[in-house]
């Protein structure tokens, strides 16, 4: 059998097999049960003491959100100051200058919201100091922030009736010390062994075999790559992210990095099941997500390995599939797999240029981000699915004439309003943004944003807003996006796309938690069944299809039909 396909199958199997035990472990961490990483406890206690945190103090959902939003606001100023001033700060052997304020605004927002949209290139746009004290730091803490929100929701849903949903600072700290940092260390060490650089020296200058001069960018890459993947951040150390041969040196590291992207979002589904003791519900949610994800993988791998029909017409041998924008050591199959993995999660790192993938792959990547809950970002992906669950509960409740209940709590008008707003905000940001950009581009043909004409040009803009609103961060990188228009407009989409859903979802969970527990009866709509899962799937597809299909028809579908 084809070794490229075997490689893809291996990645899939490693994910599905390992997410179950990891999910159980994560539930234990948030519950505060004993785990084999208890030797981290003194470090945590030291952090609590230094920061004046009382770990036993519980918060209600409003206090929880206040702490979450305050620390995010603080991170924004932290990042802005350091990025603008990086030219004067230490650890800058290549002498890279500070970022312009609009670029720093975009960079800072995009890392703060765990998105990592990059309008700069890592080799020239950052110093080692800002790589470590802004980019890498944010990659850890913002992922932990999403996980903390998820932990709060789990706690709210597990209790029969409660006012408090846990301590935000404790969840934040434990996410780092018990999950993100240990896993990153393991992945980082494996990368280092395989030749990913990890040093503080500047660029190497050398003379090539043919006698010309070549400059090689390097630096503390192996520290950033693991957390970029595990935290579903995606911001590459180098401009071309994991297609860069130093960032992703061989087939093994490619499998490892691709695994790191999806493992925590997958585990989170089971963590929810273990935490709330609703393993059957978790298993059904997992099944729906896995089905949607796998369908995308099959189609995209087939499309990429099949190659570009226009190149077939030229009469050359296209045995390796569509190789424009792809690397030999990775191959077209694993590139397609990665494209799906990185867009179902809010990761956004790439190992091939999505702009050059075939139209249907591009469409599936966009659709994954537009739906944004097939596993999704760490923590927040499951939470997006949760908003759809609430809507599905309500709709099916109306259809069969039962009181809409979820986990023993009545779903009422207030929760429904919030869930609907959360779900509709996403298409609003994407479509309005793309509409404005398309109008501007059409009125000013000389503006030079687009790298490709016609339908694909529209796709480039649609992808950029989709990626921003979904906090993904990948791009059809042909788009000339480091301009004030794009920096600021996508910056706004990023903020809205991150905080609006988090606030809404934590609020729903908090509201549900404080309600009276209604014991299950014959009149209860069961949510842990195949029928209800199918219903949720249908709700998601209908909402996504109705909102995004017209735009997709003008972009990638038209592109595909004219190929």
């Amino acid at each position: 059998m084809n070794t490229e396909i075997l490689g893809v199958v291996l990645q899939w199997v490693l994910l599905v097999v390992l997410c179950y035990p990891l999910g159980r472990y994560m539930a234990k961490v948030y519950k505060g049960e004993r785990t084999w990483l208890d030797f981290m406890a003194p470090v945590e206690r030291l952090i609590y003491r230094l920061c004046g945190i009382d770990p036993s103090q519980e918060m209600d959902w409003k206090k929880f959100l206040k702490a979450l939003l305050t620390v995010n606001l603080f991170w924004f100023f932290w990042g802005m100051v350091l990025l603008v001033c990086q030219g004067w700060l230490p650890l800058n052997p290549d002498g890279n200058p500070g970022q312009t304020p609009d670029l720093a605004f975009n960079t800072c927002i995009s890392f703060m919201v765990n998105c990592n949209l990059q309008h700069y290139s890592g080799e020239t746009g950052l110093s080692y100091f800002t790589q470590l004290f802004v980019i890498m730091l944010f990659q850890f803490v913002t992922a932990a922030c999403g996980m903390a929100a998820m932990a709060g929701i789990m706690k709210a849903l597990a209790a029969k009736s409660t006012k408090t949903i846990g301590n935000f600072w404790v969840f934040l700290t434990k996410s780092v010390t018990r999950i993100l940092m240990p896993l990153s260390l393991v992945v980082g060490i494996l990368l280092v062994i395989n030749g990913t650089p990890m040093s503080f020296d500047g660029k190497q200058t050398l003379t090539t075999l043919e006698g010309s001069e070549q400059v090689i960018s390097q630096g503390p890459t192996a520290a950033i790559v693991p957390i970029k993947q595990l935290g579903t951040n995606g911001g590459g150390y180098f401009g071309t992210n994991s297609s860069h041969p130093l960032e992703n040196p061989n087939a093994f590291t490619n499998i490892l990095e691709c695994w790191s992207i999806l493992i925590l979002p997958m585990s989170m589904v089971f963590a929810f099941g273990f935490y709330t003791r609703r393993r059957k519900l978790a298993a059904w949610i997992f099944t729906v997500m896995l089905f949607a994800f796998t369908t995308g993988v099959v189609v995209s791998v087939w499309q990429e390995m099949n190659g570009n029909p226009h190149i077939d017409e030229m009469g050359v041998a296209q045995d390796l599939g569509s190789m424009e924008g792809k690397e030999i050591r990775i191959g077209s199959g694993a590139s397609a797999m990665w494209g799906m993995v990185t867009t179902v999660t809010s990761n956004g790192s790439v190992n091939s240029m999505h702009d050059s993938q075939t139209p249907l792959s591009g469409m599936l990547q966009m659709l994954n981000m537009q739906i944004n809950c097939w596993f999704g970002g760490v923590g927040v992906g499951w939470m997006n699915y949760f908003a759809f669950l609430i809507i599905a509960v309500f709709i099916s409740g109306l259809m069969v004439g039962r009181t809409p209940e979820f986990l023993g709590k009545k779903v009422e008008a207030r929760e429904m309003k919030i869930a609907t707003l959360v779900v509709l905000m996403h298409p609003f940001l994407i479509l309005v943004g793309t509409g404005i950009a398309a109008a501007v581009a059409a009125a000013n043909p000389e503006i030079g944003w687009l790298n490709n004409p016609s339908f694909h040009g529209l796709s480039e803009m649609l992808y950029e807003y989709t990626s921003s609103a979904a906090n993904n961060g990948s791009g059809f990188e042909g788009l000339a996006d480091n301009t004030p228009f794009w920096n600021i407009s996508t910056g706004i989409a990023l903020i809205m796309g991150r905080y609006f859903p988090i606030v809404g979802q934590v609020a729903i969970a908090g509201l549900l938690a404080s309600k009276k527990f209604v014991p299950e009866s014959a009149g209860t709509l069961k949510t842990d069944t195949g029928t209800f899962s199918l219903m949720t799937f249908a709700v998601i597809i209908i909402v996504a299809a109705l909102s995004f299909f017209p735009a997709l028809a003008l972009g990638p579908i038209a592109d595909y039909l004219t190929i």
Binding site: T70, F74, L137, T177, M198, E210, I216, A251, M323
Partner: protein, 192 residues
């Protein structure tokens, strides 16, 4: 206000734990277990460093094997793909041009024998590898330019062809720089 104070302190604590602690552990691991003390691994020939093992470089001389087209001309200080869409007419014209150039340099090939990866640009612009097919089609040109037996050159290609990971997963590949260094080692001074 209390939250803001905690925010500042926890950010500093995380800096200490992650940006310093975690980073130094990995730096130590690289010094012990990395191929070149944590710096990009390099290839030496004739007493000097001729390139980074994992970063592709430009080869245009007929006596060398060539790598894949690069959208950034193998600039290792940056990196980048073409980002051209599969349907872009300008891009397709460019590929057609590359096919003709490749055929002109290898007149013994038919069009159907040109591997598409040799006429399409890589994602990073720094792809260090070519496919085994991409190397084999160049063997005759390199052998003629160097006055070597084609079988000798083919043997070098075969010996440097890397199988997929564990022989099962991924793609086979040939590192262009190592291939050309092997040629030079066999036949020093040809290009001096």
């Amino acid at each position: 206000m209390k939250n803001l104070w905690i925010s500042l302190k926890i950010t500093l604590a995380m800096c200490l734990l992650l940006s310093v602690g975690y980073v130094l552990v990995l730096r130590g691991a690289a010094a012990v277990a990395g191929p070149n003390d944590g710096e990009a691994d390099v290839v030496a020939y004739g007493g000097r460093i001729v390139g980074a093992a994992n970063v592709g470089q430009q080869f245009t001389d007929v006596r060398y094997f060539w790598g894949r087209p690069s959208a950034v001309d193998y600039n290792g200080g940056g990196s980048g793909g073409s980002n051209k869409a599969t349907t872009n007419p300008d891009y397709l014209a460019e590929v057609e041009q590359r096919i003709e150039t490749f055929l002109a340099a290898h007149p013994y090939l038919t069009r159907e024998e040109v591997p598409s990866e040799m006429v399409t640009a890589s994602g990073s612009g720094l792809d260090p590898d070519i496919s085994p097919r991409g190397a084999q089609v160049q063997v005759q040109r390199v052998a003629e330019a160097r006055g070597l037996d084609a079988a000798t050159v083919r043997n070098i290609v075969d010996s440097l062809t890397r199988k997929p990971w564990l022989g099962l997963f991924g793609t086979p590949k040939v590192n262009v720089l190592r291939l050309n260094v092997a040629l030079e080692t066999l036949q020093p001074n040809v290009t001096e």
